[in-house]
Symmetry: C2
Subunit: 343 residues, 2 copies
Amino acid sequence: MTATTGRRPTLHDVAARAGVSKSLASLALQGSPKVATASREAILAAADELGYRPNRTASNLVRQRTHTVGVHILDLHNPVFAEILDGVQEGVRAHDFSTLLVTGNADPRVERTEITRLLESRVEGLVLIAHRLSDDDLAVIAREVPTVVVTWRTDGIAGLDSVAGDDLTGAGLAVDHLVGLGHTSIAHVSGGDNRIARERRAGYERAMASHGLEPLVVDGAFSEAGGYAGTEAAVDAGATALVVANDLAAIGALAALRAHGLRVPEDISVVGYDGMRLLDSLDLTTVAQPLADMGRFAADLLIERIGSPGGPSRHHRVETRLIARGSSGLSPDAGELHLGEIR
Amino acid sequence: MTATTGRRPTLHDVAARAGVSKSLASLALQGSPKVATASREAILAAADELGYRPNRTASNLVRQRTHTVGVHILDLHNPVFAEILDGVQEGVRAHDFSTLLVTGNADPRVERTEITRLLESRVEGLVLIAHRLSDDDLAVIAREVPTVVVTWRTDGIAGLDSVAGDDLTGAGLAVDHLVGLGHTSIAHVSGGDNRIARERRAGYERAMASHGLEPLVVDGAFSEAGGYAGTEAAVDAGATALVVANDLAAIGALAALRAHGLRVPEDISVVGYDGMRLLDSLDLTTVAQPLADMGRFAADLLIERIGSPGGPSRHHRVETRLIARGSSGLSPDAGELHLGEIR
DNA sequence: CGTGAGGATTGGAACGTTCCAATTCCGGGG
DNA sequence: CCCCGGAATTGGAACGTTCCAATCCTCACG
């Protein structure tokens, strides 16, 4: 099979072995119909025998196209992002693009260098599944290459599209649901100090106010540990229901409650946010976003913009809805009689 | 900032603007010390003003190096792989390599094309965090580029290293643990028909035999759904303890038990496999592998092999250990008096 | 038997870098 | 005033493709 000649076989080698010019070899390997059958077969055979592997860097260089979009994922540990990615991959593949995936592990420095690398590799578009870039950096990037941000709406940057849910009303859904179950001491375990967390918090506060209830926000983070710590504080403050900033943190909340001997939902209710598939198994109520769809929308927007650059920014807003599961139940204050009859 | 000249600025443009040759511009941008300070500054300024972005494809082509390793992940939805990836990234970054990440979403066809793309992009090494390739494909790949397989030992393929835990004894640890808690009807929810699943199953069977117990294997899969379905079958068969093929499936098992009104661990014990971080929050007993370490080992092996190709295959075996948490407790058959005093 | 059409094939430029070898520049020592 | 050495700079080849324009063949037709 493989020739053991040290150097990697090149198109030139294939052509030589098949007794044709490299131009014809190139044509044949691209499947051009203008190559005589005999030549084609000789070329294909030669390529096979040599173990020829086309060099994409050379090809990209001369073609001035890569047919590749870069995808940045904030955090690979959060399955939510994987679900969004599914949609993105499906979407771009349908248009014959492939993806180059990088992650900054939520570290802005790593994130910048990784995205820079994508740009230097001449990806034709960029999907940012959450990010920690400054608006300035974002503007620079968007000017260079079609870009869409998934997860929050990004205004005021030319040529940048976004796909996001409405976190403001989404957080409200959670509050409404809990109020409907008779809860009044509803705490919010926040997601820290970032765009999404602020938005969800604001939505929580707005909804609480609209019900005439006193808001109680405790510090948390978009992680299990954050949810755990925040939940302890909320419990100390006497909350009977928690609106947790995201699903991962909600899992941490569950752990904290178990550790303190509190039953869910009899003693305290928990609502997460994001709608990751795993939550189904965990029987957690959550505010769900159509994650894979978000990825698909992002891919569509991107491909379209790659096809015809310029044009105004578009912002796709996806539907957010509450999925009620076993982690939310009637408020314990609402009368003992109901205990234990939940779902 | 950016010139609006349509075409991307190239090194030639930078040089022209700085009034030097492209050779000197190249030198300066690489930070060579032999460039006069005045020239350097002019060049850097010109690059900045033009918004110059080096073209990595061109650079890779002429250098014949990419300083990049390809990483294939079987399934982004399983956080276990993300944890392994952390280690890989850390390991290769320490040696100034970057990573190109692809996933086949557990679809062998997609997987092949994605890995092919990596090879065509001339990655200098390959880490396969689980895969579904045939041995033949694997051999072809390993001959082309240094490769290490993480997750199971792969013998008999020249120049291919591997990093894996000992699934045979690992599954035994789970059985031993449960036997120690007084269980005798211990079922195994299998992970389907693949290398790892077979190994873990064999380990379970061997351990059961060594304790003189009757094995009971039910079909499952490495997913929540697989765990759910398998668990229902195991419950029907009257098991009081489950050794589940992996953590994801164990989460599904939990869901199935909840749905059937069974308490964990009072009525039935559950042990997972992999040791993903999430399980800590879920209070699930598991057979843990040092995931991030596995990634780091893989990176080290790979980098070393890139440095000096050839040489015999090396197989790194990592330590597997049982982490006992709240999902495993005394067998209900072991006497009523203990009920409820677990942990 | 010459001509031309059209299919098959080929040479060579180009893509944007890197880096080697060669050249220029400059000041100081003889 | 010439020469030399070293620092600074430059031209140009090379990397492996693609693709345009040009050439070569073959064969049918007049």
